[in-house]
Symmetry: C2
């Protein structure tokens, strides 16, 4: 079977993703044990997403840690394009970001790119505003510190964003966005401009404080092209280049290529799904590494490396390495059946979502604490 | 002598301008006597810039007058890219706009495109902010009604502009701006986006009032491509297409091709020039249609049609048709010498500037009345 060729831009992820190849193509650095040890020196423990190389690559992390060790604290910047509901695939980066916030005791600037989603999707501004609100609830539900977390919504905060965005825009040509994003002459002029808006939050604390503040951007690797384009511009404007840490995608339920997408809701588990929906989706769609009959499975064993349920446990829901190892061995030996493996995952997801949905409701009362309010007007 | 080929975009005007050819190329309508009569019905008198076809073309003026006659009042929209000092070449459109404001008793929205000038010029935002302020003084000095005139500064009013600009941007491709403006892959992405910002003021009153308001845009013809691009978009967003009335350029002092430019200050008369500077510039640089000796001039006569001093009188400084005709005849016959013609212009300009500079000083005290404040209700 021919491998589907890999395509990765902020607006399209398809094919079998070869992360080793990505590291070379994007020109990023592997997250090796040396840099992991440096992180561990400060965070005491490593998050399992680091140990398991779910976060697998970086740019300039060594520089960021040098600065940190000199007492020059960084801030975190990540974001969300609010075009639909949140699914499990979105959560990995944010859960990891929350861990970084706690481990390093740092601020987080979280951008909601409503303009982007309007420009790239067939959605009205009203629909996107609804999703912005809904998505904020999911982010808050993950437990970010309201005193250290600042939501920026592009259109709402355009007074802060635009004067800086045009500085980036002035130094980026269409040739550059063509090659970085595969744009053509038929892209609309808002799409072409947009990347300059995504560059800005990495310098907002520097603007507000009137001095350079290092920035670390945890992101899913498809967002890297924005910063590949912008990173040469930062120093030209007198700013540090932001450091980046790159995460892998959570595969769709149906298999281990591409990424989970909420536009295909049957292959994505949404944070608002009921226990029954979760059970149904996993049982019906989760691609299995098992054999076709119980007898065969007992004899030959399953393949956890392609099994989506196992991958979800590994990526998100089983932090305990020993427990994960046990599941791996039992499934591989045939001792654990696919139905049993799926049930473990269903229980884990439903436990998580029960708590998440409760916090998501509570988030409605504290949402205002998270939305950035400029203390001084920007003109 | 080969004619220099004509090039007209919002950012470059060069060559011998053939306005008849422009009408065809841009697909605009000639401002014929029929439509002039319709204007006259409401304004009683016609401004000499209409009689003399300084304003020479239009789009949709008949529709605008139909609406006006049905009681559906229009507003005016024009603007300025604040990249340097104001020279005489800028004033024609604004003097005519002021006449329209008075004749039809209508509001004017005046856009200062500081973002454009930042994106297209090698100037800092601080320098452009300085020019924005200085240029506002010149506009106010022309006597616009502060109760009916609203200044919009793109960056300052970005909260009002951007949500609408991205709606235009979504419907304009790079192909379109390439062909309308001659852009290339090496244009920066802010320049590519910019035209959507210039489209917006034509709909601001419609947004604020929650119903469609007709718009008339007086402009120098080099600005037409912006609206050629945007006019198909207005109806898609539920707005009227704005009507446009197109003015010719004031030629540079050195001759009757191109347009006056403040980046070549020796061929432009600035509103802040002293009487001595005006005298020096006109005497030294104003291209003359006269003969090389007095004797020859008396015998053969001069050519007022290429004489820059005569053109300035015709375009800006001699509203009286009879007086202008007399000057024309006397210069053509050789009765009036070039020195005498220049002296008439010098006196007219200095009289005008004396008053203008006084009003420009007074404008500093009332500038705030003109800058649009989102909280104030607009009539």
């Amino acid at each position: 079977m021919a491998k589907e060729s890999m395509k990765i831009t902020p607006w399209e992820v398809s094919g079998n993703i070869d992360y080793e190849k990505l590291i070379k193509e994007f020109g990023v650095s592997k997250l090796d044990n040396k840099v992991l040890e440096r992180i561990k020196k400060h965070s005491k423990k490593l998050h399992f997403m680091l140990d398991r190389k779910i976060f697998f690559a970086h740019r300039d992390l060594d520089w960021l840690l040098d600065e940190y060790e000199k007492g020059n604290k960084f801030f975190l910047y990540t974001g969300r394009g609010p075009s639909g509901p949140i699914h499990l695939g979105h959560l990995g980066t944010w859960i990891f970001t929350k861990w970084l916030q706690d481990a390093f005791n740092v601020d987080l600037w979280f951008q909601f790119t409503d303009d982007e989603k309007f420009l790239f999707n067939d959605l009205s501004i009203q629909e996107i505003q609804k999703w912005t609100y809904e998505n904020m609830l999911d982010v808050i539900a993950l437990g970010f510190d309201p005193g250290k977390t600042h939501f920026i919504v592009d259109i709402k905060h355009i007074g802060l964003m635009y004067p800086e965005a045009i500085k980036f825009a002035k130094k980026i040509t269409f040739s550059t966005v063509k090659s970085a994003f595969g744009m053509t002459n038929e892209n609309n002029i808002g799409q072409i401009f947009y990347t300059s808006m995504q560059a800005v939050p990495a310098v907002i604390p520097s603007i507000l404080k009137g001095k350079n503040v290092p920035c670390l951007i945890p992101l899913a690797v498809d967002q890297d092209p924005h910063f590949r384009v912008a990173r040469d511009v930062y120093p030209k404007l007198g700013y540090y280049k932001p450091a980046i840490i790159h995460g892998k995608f959570l595969p769709p339920l149906t298999g281990v290529s591409g990424k989970m997408s909420s536009s295909k809701s049957e292959v994505a588990i949404l944070t608002t799904d009921s226990p029954k929906e979760v059970e149904y989706k996993i049982k019906k769609y989760a691609f299995s590494g098992g054999q076709s009959t119980v007898e065969e499975h007992r004899k030959k064993g399953g393949n956890p490396d392609v099994d989506v349920s196992f991958q979800y446990l590994r990526t998100l829901f089983e932090p305990d390495d020993k427990k994960l190892e046990r599941i791996y061995k039992n499934y591989k030996s045939g001792k654990m059946l696919t139905g049993e493996l799926k049930q473990i995952l269903i229980d884990r997801i439903n436990n998580f979502l029960k708590e998440h949905q409760k916090k998501r409701e509570q988030a409605k009362k504290i949402i205002d604490k998270f939305i950035y309010k400029p203390s001084t007007s920007v003109s």
